[in-house]
Structure formats: C-alpha cells, structure tokens
C-alpha cells in the first residue's frame, strides 16, 4: 500500500481522517482557529436557518387552512402584532418590570438555594430530614403558594418574589447537592490532607468542584423562577405596572391568537438570551477544566 499523503495543514488520511471526523463532533464551540466574526457567524447561521424553517412550516400550516386565522394566526400577522408592540414604550416597560422581578427573585433564590444546598448537602441529619422535601417543594405548583404569599406579604411585589424564590431555590439547591455528591473523592481526600475543613473546604474545594452541576441547577432554577413569575404576575397585579405575565394572560383571555404568539416569541427570545449567558459561563468553565480539549 502506498504511503498516504496529506497536506501540511495536517489532515492525516485513511482511518484517521474518519476517526477525526467522529471526534470533531465532540469538539463544540472550541473553534479557536477562526476569527471572531466567522465564529459568530458559525454560531448564528444555524439559528437563523432554524428560525426560517420554523417560519416556513408555520406559514404552511396557516395556508393549509386547517384553522381559521383568528384561531391560529400566521407569521405575518403575528410579526405585525409583535412589531406594533415593540414600538410601544409601554410594552418595553412591561418587559422591564418583568425582567426586574425575575432578576431580583432569581438573585435571592440563588442565595437561598446556595445556603440551603450547602447546609443540606453537608449535614447528614438535615439531609435525611429535608433532602427529599426539596424536590417535593419543586413539584408544588406556584398557584398553591399564592394564598400564603398574600397572607404574608399582601398584594405587593414581595408576594410575587416569594413565590419566585420558592420556585427557583429548590432547583438551585438540588444542583448544588448533586455537584457535592459527585465531587471526585480524590479531591476531597487531597483537600483534607491539605488541611481544608468545613467552610474553607466548602468554599475552596466543594463549591468549585460542583460548579458544572451548580450551573445546570441555576439554569433550571431560572426556568422555574420565570414560570412562577408568569403565574405570579397574574395573581398579584400591581397598579401602574404592566408586566409580561399579565400580557400573556390578557392575550389568552381575549383569545388573541396573534398577540399570544407574539408574547410567546418574546418569552422565547428572553429565554434564549438568558441561556446564551449561561452557555458563555459554561464554556468558560469547560475551557478552564480542559473539557473542550477532547482530542489531545
């Protein structure tokens, strides 16, 4: 068999070429060889394509005439409604109000979740007593909490925040607990020998070791926070503050298909935006841990 020849750029041919193609799929987001612009574009075009495909299918369904337009609005009408809303400063305010609440609630939930997760994951008795309750709380629909929230906080934003925290904190705590449980024992042994104990051990070893799992918990927590918020914004309506949750409700209440779809798009866009933030953190983490370097 003749000696394989490959360009100096270094594509080994033959069996290797195939093996590498297989491994290439593993190496995501680590394309450090191209410029920033082309990397951004590589990140963007699949998204744009996906959007285009979704729009096409959507339009197709609408044109098929399966449902009347007022039951299922088409892309044109929906995007029109969306455009209208986005030119309305009040709508932006509604988004701002909701975002503010989400961020506040989430921030407190992170603190609470961190504290609860830390304590429960490390203290045996508390783990046995409350460990399973955390998931139990997660499964409790937000709506069940509102009577209590209103009793405690009245019709204030605190009532909403309370429910948001109850929604998000368990996820965050659970993420941390999973991370702690799966911290490699050798690292715990090493830090024990180094003299790390209790709080220091927690801060310098367990927390960073749990970070990937904690980050996953944060992401889930955000989703819970957001959903709880949407529910909460209906129950506790605060004067002079329109909000996204309220908008969603009215779109449904008025059976306004185009409006509902427009609001859903906004929610999706915000969700995707937040995910991109998390993803950035996650990528940084994986780079630091050397997890993107699958091939060397």
């Amino acid at each position: 068999m003749a000696v394989d020849q490959a360009p100096a750029a270094g594509q080994p041919s033959d069996i290797h070429a195939r093996q590498l193609a297989g491994l290439d799929a593993l190496e995501l987001g680590g394309g450090t060889s191209s410029g920033l612009a082309s990397r951004l574009w590589g990140r963007t075009w699949p998204m744009l394509l996906a959007i285009a495909i979704v729009l096409a299918i959507w339009q197709g369904v609408v044109w098929s005439g399966r449902w009347p337009e007022y039951v299922f609005a088409g892309p044109a009408e929906t995007l029109g409604t969306l455009g209208e809303r986005l030119t309305d400063p009040e709508y932006w305010q509604a988004i701002a109000v909701t975002m503010r609440r989400a961020v506040t609630g989430f921030a407190i939930a992170v603190v609470v979740g961190l504290a609860v997760g830390a304590v429960v994951s490390r203290i045996k008795v508390l783990r046995a007593a409350f460990g399973s309750l955390i998931t139990g709380l997660q499964t409790m629909p937000s709506i069940a909490w509102f009577p209590l929230a209103i009793l405690l906080f009245g019709l204030t934003e605190s009532a909403i925040t309370f429910v948001v925290i109850l929604g998000a904190a368990p996820s965050i705590a659970n993420g941390l607990i999973t991370g702690v449980d799966y911290t490699p024992p050798i690292l715990l042994r090493a830090s024990h020998v180094l003299g790390f104990r209790r709080l220091q051990l927690y801060r310098h070893v367990i927390l960073p070791a749990s970070l990937p799992s904690f980050l996953a918990g944060l992401k889930q927590g955000w989703a819970f926070a957001w959903r709880s918020l949407m529910a909460g914004e209906l129950v506790v309506i605060i004067a002079h503050q329109s909000s996204l949750g309220e908008r969603l409700y009215y779109d449904r209440e008025l059976a306004d298909s185009a409006g509902l779809l427009a609001t859903m798009i906004i929610i999706l866009v915000i969700g995707v935006g937040i995910d991109l933030l998390f993803e950035t953190g996650d990528n940084a983490l994986r780079r630091r841990w050397g997890l993107q370097q699958v091939r060397n």
């Binding site: 068999m1 000696v3 394989d4 020849q5 490959a6 100096a8 750029a9 270094g10 594509q11 080994p12 041919s13 033959d14 069996i15 290797h16 093996q19 590498l20 491994l23 450090t32 060889s33 024992p185 091939r295 060397n296």
Partner: protein, 263 residues
Amino acid sequence: MTAPLTERAARRAEGDEPAVRLDGVSKIYGQGKNGLLALDNISLSVAPGEFVSLLGASGCGKSTLLSLVAGLDSPTAGTLSVGGRKIAMMFQEPALFPWLTVSANVEMALRVQGVAKRERRQRAAEFLDIVHLGGFGAKRPHELSGGMRQRVSLARALAQEADVLLMDEPFGALDAMTRDLLHDELERIWQKRGLSVLFVTHNVREAVRLGDRVVLLSSRPGKVAEEFDVDIERPRVTDSPEVAELASAVTARLRQEVLRHGS
C-alpha cells in the same frame, strides 16, 4: 522468536511498508505566542512486528506522539500513516470506566468487535489472568490499588487484539517482580501475534529489555535525539550484563540530552 536482527534492519532499510510512519510531524498546542511546540519535525517509523521503545525526559512529548499515532489528535504539520491498521493504546493513566466492573472494563474491548457475551466474559477472565488479577473480575476500579488498575488497563489493551499496540508507561506503578513477569507475558504475546509496539517508558533497562530498537527523544521541542538498535538475543533478562551495558550507554546519552537543555 522474532526475525533475526539483520533481517529486520534490512526490511526497514529497504523501505518495506512500515506499520506506523511519521514524516516530519510537528505538534503545537495552543496558538500564537501561547503556543507550545511539543513535537518538532519528528520522522519515525515502526516496522510490522517491530518493538520500539521510546525514551525521553518528563514532558518531552512522548504521550503527545502516541496520541497522534492513535488518531486522538491531529499533527500541526507533517504526515502520519498507520496504513489502516487497527490500533490499541494503553494510556498513561488507567482510564478505566468507573461504572463498570473490572471484567466489564476488559470486555469493552471485545464488545466493539461484536463478541458474544459468554465468550467475552471468558476471554476477559483470560486476560485478567495474564496480568495476575485472576480473582478481581467482579470488583470495581475504585476498589483496586493503583498498580492493579494499571494492569486492568493493560489487559484491556491486549484484549483489543490490534495490529499496533501503543503503551504509555504501562508498568510505571508496578513492583520489579510483577514487572518482570509482565515483561515475559508481553514479549510472548507480541511474538505470538506479530504486533508492532511503540512502548514509552522511563526505565532504560526496561526499554532495552523489551525493544528491538530504542528511540531517544530530546526535550522542548521533542525531536528524535538518537536511535539505538538492541542487538541482544532473546530471551533477555533485565539484570543481564548485556542489557545493563546498553542501558548505561543509553542513560549516558539521555543524561547528556537532559543536561543540554538545562533544568
């Protein structure tokens, strides 16, 4: 028995198709000014059935070289070919699957080959016997000592029944006795199967004991510093004067290399 030395040397010289061939291979980790030139213009080949030992200071690029050959990474420059041969590799770490028992870890090598379950188990047990871990099939990796894990990893690599075997400090965590026993086993299997072996070690005597040829890498960047043909009749004994003699020659050269690059 291997082919007589002269014949093998001749085969190499004649340009017979090598099992592994590196031509001016370089590898740079990272990019730009953070880039690290790990391997610089390495040309090296391993003939079919040849046992090549690779020596070099810590961090000189031996593991990098093996992972290029295994196709786990691609060279920054140069050509690399294994002529479609099947490659087995034993990593520097044991790299066992923590969720599988010791036996199942070895079986993983057979699973891809589509070997049936019963036969898989039986053959895994055989390979575990070879590495002196007969009764440990049902344990999990975390219940083993460091050296035992390394031996499981060896058993798994042997079970792959590949044409080319890459070994990265396979006996580093073993005591001298166990090591000697495994040298014999490895030599036996190598001869029986006609394997091509690329064997990284820090133990010069071991390199000489096992290799048809000893290749010395220099450090930063990794280059081939020198090659030694080992003209000692097999079976060899690690403590034999011939081995000791060549080993001290190699050691002297190695020392020279390390000193040249400073500490």
